[in-house]
């Protein structure tokens, strides 16, 4: 059952290293190669890949690359051409890649070009009865399945937080470069920059230990019959500053910005967690003023420890969705909590 496995990655925005998730997925690919008696090849894409390759040299794997200015930034046409060329050179049965936005855009198309098949958001890859199975979630994290395919090459894009990152000493890597000519029809699209959302602070922090979720309750009339949006903004932003947490929002809250209601200025659709939002990975999550309805909570699938503050003792969090529900006024609790954290 020995498999020829290709681990494919691209350099990160620094242009020098690989994104953190690449090391995690490399760890999974190396385990699979060892478990299946397979051979691992590494493929790298970027403007300049030497430094990134040096960091992986101690895996002992053959390293192929496509590099050059046209491969510096994400772009479907050139990324697809680069990935396709590496796959054709490595002739793998399995291609394992990190689920970065750059690769999620392009790898499915590459699978199609190579008459292969593709699955994304893989959470684990196992060998059972001499067959390779991959696990992933269906219906937005409601049902988990183990799947197999006969088609080869089989492309598996693995999510972050699913494997220990591989580490190894850097040394000079021997790279086999592949020349991929770029034609004018591949440059119809050009990179024009990276934009951060209209927000005073960078509120989405994928590496944070804590997810802080704000729900629509923050902008609703409170016990005194009034809205307290300004206080809510201060409480939430201070908490993000004091705790280093990443900010998530419920759909009801982020939708308000499109509906001319009193809103939290820093909250955008990018913050939305849930069915039609994100499914972030953080070890802990704290929900505030959010009811904990199923379409929201499916976005918490990968949050291990969950606590919630809500005035309603019968809210969704009370029904097996959080470890602890504090039945309390989030405005009051957050004020005290901010004071305590500011001291620490």
């Amino acid at each position: 059952m020995s498999q020829n496995i290709l681990f494919l990655a691209h350099v990160d925005e620094s242009g020098k290293s690989l994104p953190r998730i690449a090391f995690e997925v490399l760890g999974a690919a190396l385990d699979l190669a060892a478990g299946s008696g397979g051979v691992l090849t590494i493929g790298l894409i970027g403007e300049n890949v030497q430094e990134a390759a040096d960091g992986l040299a101690s895996t002992g794997a053959r390293i192929l690359s496509v590099s050059g200015r046209e491969f510096a930034h994400p772009r479907y046409s050139t990324d697809a051409a680069a990935a396709e060329a590496i796959c054709r050179a490595a002739t793998p049965e399995l291609v394992i890649t990190p689920s970065t936005s750059r690769f999620l855009r392009v790898i499915p198309g590459v699978a199609q070009r190579l008459s292969g098949q593709v699955d994304t958001h893989i959470t684990s890859i196992e060998i059972a009865d001499s067959r390779i199975s991959a696990k992933r979630w269906f219906y937005r994290q409601r049902l988990e399945a183990a799947i197999q395919r006969d088609a080869r090459p089989w492309f598996l894009l693995m999510d972050s937080g699913c494997h220990e990152p591989w580490t190894g000493a850097a040394r000079t890597a021997n790279i086999e470069p592949i020349d991929v000519p770029v034609s004018p029809d591949q440059t119809r699209t050009v990179f024009a920059g990276i934009r951060t959302p209209n927000s005073d602070a960078q509120t989405i922090r994928p590496d944070a230990k804590l997810l802080f979720v704000a729900g629509a309750g923050w902008c609703k009339k409170q016990g005194d019959g009034k809205n307290h949006v300004a206080e809510a903004e201060v409480a939430i932003l201070s908490f993000l500053q004091n705790s280093g947490a990443s900010l998530g929002g419920s759909k009801s809250l982020v939708d308000q910005s499109g509906e001319n209601q009193a809103v939290l200025g820093f909250m955008t659709h990018l913050n939305q967690v849930g069915q039609t939002g994100s499914t972030p990975r953080h070890p802990k999550g704290l929900s505030t003023c959010c009811h904990g309805e199923e379409p929201h909570v499916v976005g918490w699938r990968f949050i291990n420890e969950r606590r919630a503050i809500n005035l309603d003792p019968n809210c969704g969090w009370a029904r097996g969705k959080a470890d602890v529900l504090y039945v309390a006024d989030a405005f009051q609790v957050m004020e005290r909590l901010n004071a305590l954290l500011a001291k620490k």
Partner: protein, 269 residues
């Protein structure tokens, strides 16, 4: 005739997210218990794609929107009763038993074939829209597979904004890591855009638009031929998550006590 777009939106249907989903095994693979009884909605991110498409078409006269949907016909009709009130489009239905367990490669094949047979579609003006992920399979691969089949090499995923520039080029914002957007400029169609939330609120229901739309949608649904989907995936197991948490509900505690407990929990590594 410049800046006239032929926009094809690919959109499936999914169970209403408030429903509880229970997997069952059938002779043809996994399915959902009482699947045909579950109320369905237009797949949310492809719904955003549809609203963005009709908005774009409204700004560029002569443009046209088609909605291609591979779904069980009876359920699709039910969903159309609502969606047809929100946007004007021509429906291209494909009657298949597609659900979250259907293989994306097979779905892409029938979508690609259906798009190739659309009468009057000018592929040089084609903007192929869809959701960047479905709420069923959640894979985010179908659109790219369709795009490759149609030879579209300018593809964008997680799109939140499309702006037509004065020179006719398209400025496109795609979601990337860390809550940021990648900004790209594309010379123009043909291009493929897998939409995230976009910027438009869901349009209000307009019964007049609905009635006009349904006059063409009902015959199209009646004519839709049943097709089958080849299954490339072998499902070893399908299970709902095991863990139901034992929630500790903390009532009657002072704000200070709660804040202290939370502060301790947050700083623990």
């Amino acid at each position: 005739m410049s800046n006239v777009y032929h926009i094809v939106v690919c959109a499936g249907i999914v169970p209403d997210p408030l429903q509880t989903l229970e997997p069952i095994t059938t002779p043809t693979g996994p399915a959902l218990k009482n699947e045909m009884m579950l109320p369905a909605v237009l797949d949310p991110w492809s719904g955003h794609a549809l609203y963005e498409a009709t908005n774009l078409a409204a700004h560029f006269p002569g443009s046209k929107v088609w909605l291609v949907s591979a779904a069980p016909k009876a359920k699709l009709q039910q969903v159309m009763m609502n969606v047809a009130q929100k946007a004007s489009f021509e429906l291209i239905p494909i009657d298949v038993p597609a659900n979250g367990f259907a293989d994306a490669h097979s779905v892409a094949k029938i979508l690609g074939e259906a798009i190739q047979t659309i009468a009057g579609l000018d592929r040089s003006r084609l903007l192929l829209f869809g959701g960047w992920e479905s709420a069923s399979r959640g894979a985010g691969v179908t659109m790219q597979l369709v795009g490759e089949r149609l030879g579209i090499r300018d593809q964008f995923q997680g799109v939140d904004q499309l702006t037509v520039q004065n020179d006719g080029s398209l400025e496109i914002l795609e979601r990337i890591e860390g809550g940021r957007h990648l900004v790209s400029t594309c010379q123009g169609p043909p291009a493929l855009l897998g939409w995230a939330t976009g910027n438009l609120p869901e349009p209000k229901n307009n019964p007049q638009v609905g009635m006009a739309n349904m006059r063409a949608i009902m015959p199209a649904l009646q004519k839709a031929k049943p097709a089958s989907l080849f299954q490339n995936v072998r499902y070893v197991s399908v299970t709902p998550p095991k863990q139901q948490r034992q929630t500790r509900v903390v009532k009657d505690r002072s704000v200070d006590e709660i804040a202290a407990e939370l502060a301790e929990w947050i700083v623990q590594s």
